[in-house]
């Protein structure tokens, strides 16, 4: 979609109080570069200034499924006593009808480095279930450790909707599993050119000793590293993306 969405910004509920006053159901619309407020109505300046930066982004189509912008539609006025909740609806400019909400962000392995113990149980179990070896070099998840600072960071594929790794692969060795959303590597096709790893924004791709890309395949849904993580530093869900 190359044209811009129209937007309708509606007061959905008021958690605190608003003595401006704004009322539930009040709204304004955005069409192209114009803001329109229904005749006889007004709009809160402070609420509007907090909404403003996000409006141009909400006007545009974003194909990246994991991006938060398409999924985030509620914003709140900045006055801590106010709690006026605004909902942004996208409108198809041709039909004038609301655009159906995108599905929720698909679940992915979410990493909480703050509680990662750095034990590498995730690596060990990943290598074992995929390659019957305990050798973490073959794992699709890798833990980067800094023992001086006590920092432990697991790196693993996030299944980007707009997966740059798939685009970067010159031999079509990467594809997406239509059911789990995982990026699948065709070991026979992979030529070990490292283009996918260079394209990955999250440093989540490594290579085995034969230079074949190692990318998380989500264990066909029954994710072993998540199950074995002793502190829930790894979780498989989409809670982080809900509005």
């Amino acid at each position: 979609m190359s044209t811009l969405f129209d937007l309708k910004i509606v007061v959905e509920k008021i958690k605190g109080f608003c003595d401006l006053p704004m009322e539930v159901g009040d709204y304004f619309t955005v069409r192209g570069g114009k803001i329109e407020i229904p005749e006889g109505k007004h709009m809160c300046l402070w609420a509007m200034q907090s909404l403003m930066p996000v409006l141009p982004a909400k006007q545009r189509e974003i194909s990246e499924e994991n991006d938060w912008i398409p999924h985030t539609k509620r914003f709140i006025c900045p006055d801590p006593n106010g709690g006026v909740v605004f909902r942004i609806d996208r409108i198809n400019p041709k039909t004038g009808k609301p655009v159906a909400d995108k599905d929720k962000i698909p679940p992915r392995i979410q990493v909480n480095s703050e509680v990662c113990t750095g034990c590498r149980a995730c690596e060990t179990v990943c290598a074992f279930v995929h390659n019957q070896t305990f050798n973490g070099e073959k794992s699709r998840i890798k833990v980067e450790k800094n023992e001086i600072e006590g920092k432990d960071n697991p790196f693993v594929c996030r299944q980007c909707g707009d997966a740059p790794c798939i685009k970067a692969c010159p031999v079509e060795a990467l594809s997406r599993d239509p059911i789990t959303n995982a990026i699948l590597v065709n070991d026979d096709k992979c030529i070990g050119c490292y283009k996918c790893a260079e394209a990955c924004p999250f440093d989540a791709i490594t290579f085995n000793e034969n230079d074949v890309a190692l990318i998380c395949d989500l264990c066909e849904g029954d994710i072993e590293c998540v199950k074995r993580c002793p502190t829930d530093a790894l979780k498989f869900d989409n809670k982080g993306g809900q509005s």
Binding site: G118, A121, I148
Partner: protein, 635 residues
């Protein structure tokens, strides 16, 4: 693919730089299981009694076990074994972290170091190959900097390193070997053995495969075990506090080593407890390789005098060593003391004993301030503690007297101070008072590496389950810490469990204290993991064999019944009134020893293993040697 075992040892001669690989046959592996067992057997064979521990004739054995590097929770450990320069008997120390698994992934069950390098060196081992490199640039660097520098130099953040600090280079007898910054094989002076061979560090990188013979079955067993661990009554406390829980729990029982064992109750324990550490300084939990019950922690001091002090740790021994044992009630001082020891490469137990010993002598007017380089080492004087650590590390002034350990210090000081030296067989004892935990007392008295609790961990005496006591060990009393009956059998049982843990190279928290696996389950695990067949009976017998080989080793070095004892204080001075239920208690060592020797079939008078026992365990050549050396008299 290797299954559980790599069936291979690496022998490095540092004098002539020959590096050989030796195949380990199935009999050796089955009879000695792994890690500690393999090392003990080699030490017995290859290091005869005449050897000076810091000469090039001493050898160091570094062993890992069949479970090391697998999914078994906490099978992360590695044993360092040599003749100890601190005790002149069995030197053996074990650490967790990540080094053990890396050795397995590099293709070895055991590494043997012999001879002496010409100049300060480090050993680099990668995937079945090894080389000796100069470590000139690492001279006198502390353990942290040594590890950091080696990682940078090699340019691989996944290398695992065992390093010594300046204390070892300066000849301190209780210097240890440090991995993952703070994980220490600190007991019995293994750091000094490395230093005496001119080895500053061992760097290992392994990327080789290691599998299980029956992967699905093995995985299922591990999954079940993980579940059992998660549902265990101790799971929550162990992950929250780990060993540091012992500060408050032992204090409540009246047996926390306080002011050099003058009492078992520290009034200010609340300020230095694991709970206090958790609440105020803990950043997160830390764990060893593939561990599902992470009991370690990372702490940081965010303000005040020690702002910016952060590291993994401490464990109970360090925390209590630099608080209750030396009378420090500010936990930040204790954390700083432990940190100094870690960086210099010192054993926290022995260091804290040497300092606490000095403090008691000073307070009793046996030592003058002048003799202690003008310090005023009263209990609770943190500056004196830090200065003494520094002096020990540098072997300067009074530190030089302490740097050979507490027995040697007492000998040098004279004045009947030996009775204040809290050691067994030259190894300083832990931070719990044996008078309140008599089974532990016996365990410490008979431990094959000298005064140490980790050779037996007879936790059963805390259970208070009289029925189980009667069933398992023949005496209801065996389930109660202040009783002595049955403890000989309890200690024998848990000694063998500890051997099992140290040979599989798995954590004692799970294998011994939580009793997650029995000999039977160990056999099942090894049968799905390795190419060999084990029965529970064989494994138990191997554990007993290993105990007897270690005993035989120290017997050959001259150890007899009279050495299997505790310092006078624990045998004769009852715990004082403030120690609650433990008040008035002493250790009845003799009846416990009798029962223990009987359970072991060792000679009641000498403590030497009887010929029948040695023969039963297949140790014919040891029986022969004992006859030849006149250790066992033939009627």
């Amino acid at each position: 693919m290797n299954y559980g075992y790599c069936n291979q040892a690496l022998r490095i001669n540092l004098s002539d730089h020959t590096i050989k690989k030796e195949t380990l046959d199935s009999t050796f592996l089955k009879d000695y299981l792994g890690g500690r067992g393999l090392n003990a057997r080699r030490l017995y064979e290859e290091v005869p009694p005449e050897v000076d521990p810091i000469s090039k004739e001493n050898k160091m054995f570094i062993g890992v076990g069949p479970l090391t590097g697998t999914l078994f929770p906490g099978a992360a450990r590695v044993n360092f074994t040599a003749k100890s320069p601190q005790t002149n008997i069995l030197g053996d120390s074990n650490t967790g972290g990540f080094l053990g698994p890396e050795i397995k992934f590099a293709g070895f069950d055991q590494i043997i170091l012999e001879g002496k390098a010409e100049q300060l060196s480090y050993i680099f081992i990668k995937d079945g190959e090894a080389e000796i490199r100069s470590a000139d640039h690492l001279k006198q660097l502390d353990t942290f900097k040594t590890q950091q520098k080696l990682k940078e130099e090699i340019g691989d953040n996944r290398v695992q390193i065992a390093a010594i600090g300046p204390a070892a280079e300066n000849g301190v007898k209780f210097s240890g070997i440090f991995c993952n910054m703070v994980r220490a094989a600190a007991r019995t002076g293994m750091g000094l053995v490395l230093a005496s061979k001119n080895i500053k560090a061992i760097v290992v990188r392994g990327t080789m495969d290691l599998g299980a013979k029956e992967p699905d079955k093995f995985k299922k067993m591990i999954d079940d075990m993980d579940e059992e661990i998660k549902n265990h009554s101790e799971y929550e406390t162990r992950t929250r506090l780990g060993t540091t829980q012992l500060v408050s729990s032992l204090n409540e029982l009246g047996c926390l080593a306080t002011r050099h064992f003058q009492t078992g109750y520290f009034e200010e324990a609340d300020q230095v407890s694991g709970e206090y550490l958790e609440e105020n300084y803990k950043q997160k939990e830390k764990g060893c390789f593939a561990c599902t019950i992470p009991c370690s922690r990372f702490f940081e001091i965010k303000e005040g005098k020690y702002k910016g002090l952060k590291s993994e740790g401490p464990e109970f021994e360090g925390l209590a060593g630099f608080s209750s044992r030396v009378g420090l009630s500010d936990i930040e001082n204790a954390l700083y003391g432990v940190d100094l020891c870690n960086r210099y490469g010192l054993d926290v137990i022995t260091t804290s004993e040497c300092i606490a010993f000095t403090m008691e002598l000073y307070e009793k007017d046996i030592l003058s301030s002048e003799e202690v380089d003008g310090l005023k080492p009263n209990f609770g004087n943190s500056e004196a503690v830090f200065k003494l650590i520094e002096k020990i590390k540098n072997r300067e002034g009074f530190g030089d007297i302490l740097a050979d350990g507490v027995v040697s210090a007492a000998e040098k000081i004279g004045r009947d101070t030996k009775k204040f030296a809290m050691h067994v067989k030259g190894l300083e004892i832990f931070q719990a008072d044996p008078r309140g935990i008599k089974g532990y007392g016996l365990g410490v008295a008979v431990a094959t590496r000298g005064g140490d609790h980790l050779r037996s961990e007879p936790w059963f005496e805390f259970s208070e389950d009289a029925k189980e006591g009667k069933r398992r060990f023949g005496y209801p009393e065996s389930a109660f810490r202040l009783e002595y009956k049955g403890k000989g059998r309890v200690v024998k049982f848990y000694e063998e469990r500890c051997v099992l843990a140290d040979c599989l190279e798995a954590c004692k928290n799970t294998v011994v204290n939580m009793e997650i696996i029995s000999f039977k389950e160990a056999a099942k695990l090894l049968n799905t993991l390795t190419e060999y067949e084990f029965t529970a009976e064989e494994i138990q017998k191997s554990a007993e064999r290993i105990m007897n080989v270690e005993r035989a080793y120290i017997v050959r070095e001259g150890i007899r019944r009279e050495d299997d004892t505790l310092p006078d204080r624990f045998l004769n001075e009852p715990l004082p009134e403030e120690c609650g239920e433990s008040a008035g208690s002493i250790v009845e060592i003799e009846p416990m020893l009798n029962e223990y020797y009987e359970a072991r079939n060792w000679d009641m008078e000498t403590g030497v293993p009887n010929i029948e026992k040695l023969e039963e365990l297949g140790l014919h050549e040891i029986a022969e040697e004992f006859k030849n050396r006149d250790i066992i008299k033939i009627n």
